[in-house]
Amino acid sequence: MSAVVAEHDDHEHHDHGPEKGLLRWFVTTNHKDIGTLYLVFALAMFFVGGAMAMVIRAELFEPGMQFVQPQFFNSMTTMHALVMVFGAVMPAFVGLANWMIPMMIGAPDMALPRMNNMSFWVLVAGVLLLASTLFMEGGAPAGGWTLYPPLVLQTGDALPFAIFSVHLLGISSIMGAINIIATIFNMRAPGMTLMKMPLFVWTWLITAFLLIAVMPVFAGAVTMLLTDKFFGTTFFDAAGGGDPVLYQHIFWFFGHPEVYIMILPTFGVASTIIPVFARKPLFGYNSMVYATASIAFLSFIVWAHHMFTVGMPMAGELYFMYATMLIAIPTGVKVFNWTATMWKGAMTFETPMLFSISFVILFTIGGFTGLMMAIAPSDFQYHDTYFIVAHFHYTLVPASIFILMAAGYYWLPKWTGNMYNEKIGQLHFWLSVVSVNILFFPQHFLGLAGMPRRIPDYAVQFADWNMISSIGGFIFGVSQLLFLYIVVDTIRGGTGEKVTDEVWEDAHKHGLEWTLPSPPPYHTFTTPPTVIPTEHL
């Protein structure tokens, strides 16, 4: 390596292009390359996790056992969650962060480029280790993505692999988060003050703090699972003085910030896209920043609302109920601000905006069902039913996933220099938005009627809504192939129309990335920009 170092020990190294051939992707330290790797990997995992969801919906299409064994069904629910959370949504946002943050703050690259490479490849290793459990004796983990003991300790050969995969995913996330923090604090162009940063950068900064605070907590929890299973400890065994509920506390101390790790960057992208297509500054920029920070803070003190039925003391039920409801305030501020941004705006409805608007509406539905479950006595009724499944899928699919789609449509022209096919994009949007509601809205009714989650069979009175939900699921699943088509098509030239630097009307007033050529050169902002766009403020 020292030879390479000597070779590049000059001032001209920024003009280097990428390495030739396939090796480029393994040794790259370029934030754009690594961003692409993350995004492609996340898209692949989106389809892997989606295929698992298809298995689940096929089995639930009718009552009775149709296609798979109950054990495998439970493996599917568990793996679907783990793959989507750790393999699709989180990496997709890290990919966006890699691509966009340096370009948005006027930095030449991420602060720690070598570590950036490592965090991606450790992620791949973690997901591969997890995926390998599907082929092991005793099957993949089937106790739910929360990995609650004592149930999860009954897992076969897969258990240590799943645990170590969590460790690797944690290492990857922590390295990624440290990189993002160092980049945002240390690499901003002169004049790019914190309160001028695009909201996407702000939300990622706060998300990064959540990540380094809670990923080690999850690592600690699964380490105790490992020692309970293999080394005779009794952390989660009452006979030795431990407590299985302790695991739930630790898990959800991680788990609740974790769900905000998936939603805060979502908010950031929405806050970046909506002003551009409403042709107005973001309403209440400062309040958006403070609301994001408040939500992040609150996420650390509400964890036991996931455990209302576990047998907590009354004081705990009440505290976690009220604390949880507090989250509605900063979240309400955000929804209000997005709406107010669009108010009297000169709006146009290109695909990114369509996805963003539907995000505002459908995420609000997910938020309201969240409030319903924050009410402890009501939660006793909905707990572990399809109502909670409907709730969190509303906050993840038409929220996080839709915004990831919006981000794809919004930035693909910048990344590739080609325009995507707007007609197919809109078709993708309308198919998705209709089918996602056919898929998840009936699950509210199923849950309220008492259908439990994570069970492959159900009583006949649930049959109709399940069939409708499954039909929605199949349409949604197939519709996403349109997105795959559009991504590939746009990379290969798209409509053939060459896009301008700003791509979207007046976008260069909203963010630095639109002042760069489309596609941007391999190295950007090797000298910092002088003009800081402030239209988003």
Binding site: M1, H13, T29, W121, N186, A221
Partner: protein
Amino acid sequence: MSTNNAYYIPHRATWPILATLGLTITLAGFANYLNGVAIGPVMMVIGFAAFIVMLAGWFTLQATESESGMYNTQVGISYRMGMMWFIFSEIMFFAVFFGTLWYTRNLSVQWLGGEGVGAATKELLWPSFEANWPTNGPGNVGGEFEPMGAWGLPFINTLILLSSGVTCTWAHHGLLAKKRDQLIKGLIATVVLGFLFVLFQAFEYHEAYTEMGLTLGSGIYGSTFFMLTGFHGLHVCIGAIFLSVVLFRSVKGHFKPENHFAFEAAAWYWHFVDVVWLGLFIFVYLM
């Protein structure tokens, strides 16, 4: 530092891939070993060897680059931020086990003894269990044991670790005052004290296992005791190896008063390990 104004961005990195491979093969090997698959230990050795090679290579690369003046002040800030937040993540990792100790000792063991909402638990499951600490639970898991006292080896280890913090700072002062001799002597003292701590902890563990009946399987007391002190001991080892690398570089003439990130990082890490030990000494041994 360097007069080079540009932020140094490497073009290709080969060590991260090896790091990933080493880490993954080690963990996959460990998982196989736990499942009783024969290839497991072999994989662990291969993976760990790869990891060591990676560490040596990556450190050498960074040291060479640093000494040749490729890192400007801004790069140094990135590295310091990286180390600082890495240590923060480590604090959160230890917080889990401290939290576990607090929860089991003050809540779950008390509930098993009938306190609060646990009255029925006690009556129906373990009517004869009295909540005390230390305990191995109502099931007397792991059999009779003797808890670890604070004033023998653990107290000596406290003094060792605290002194090592002093010698480490003394070495830092030497570096800043361009007294290479003081830097090297201070680091030697720190590293020796660090490994002495590990040695004494090994004696302590040996005594616990052979004479006190105290093992990792001694119920919740044994679980929390060995998990907390074990992970701490592992971190002492890592910190001492880190300091050894810094010592080696100091002997080779590396580091300047205005440019010595590796020394600072090692010192921060060492102080972090020190503070965790104080927490351990108070909450695990004394109370």
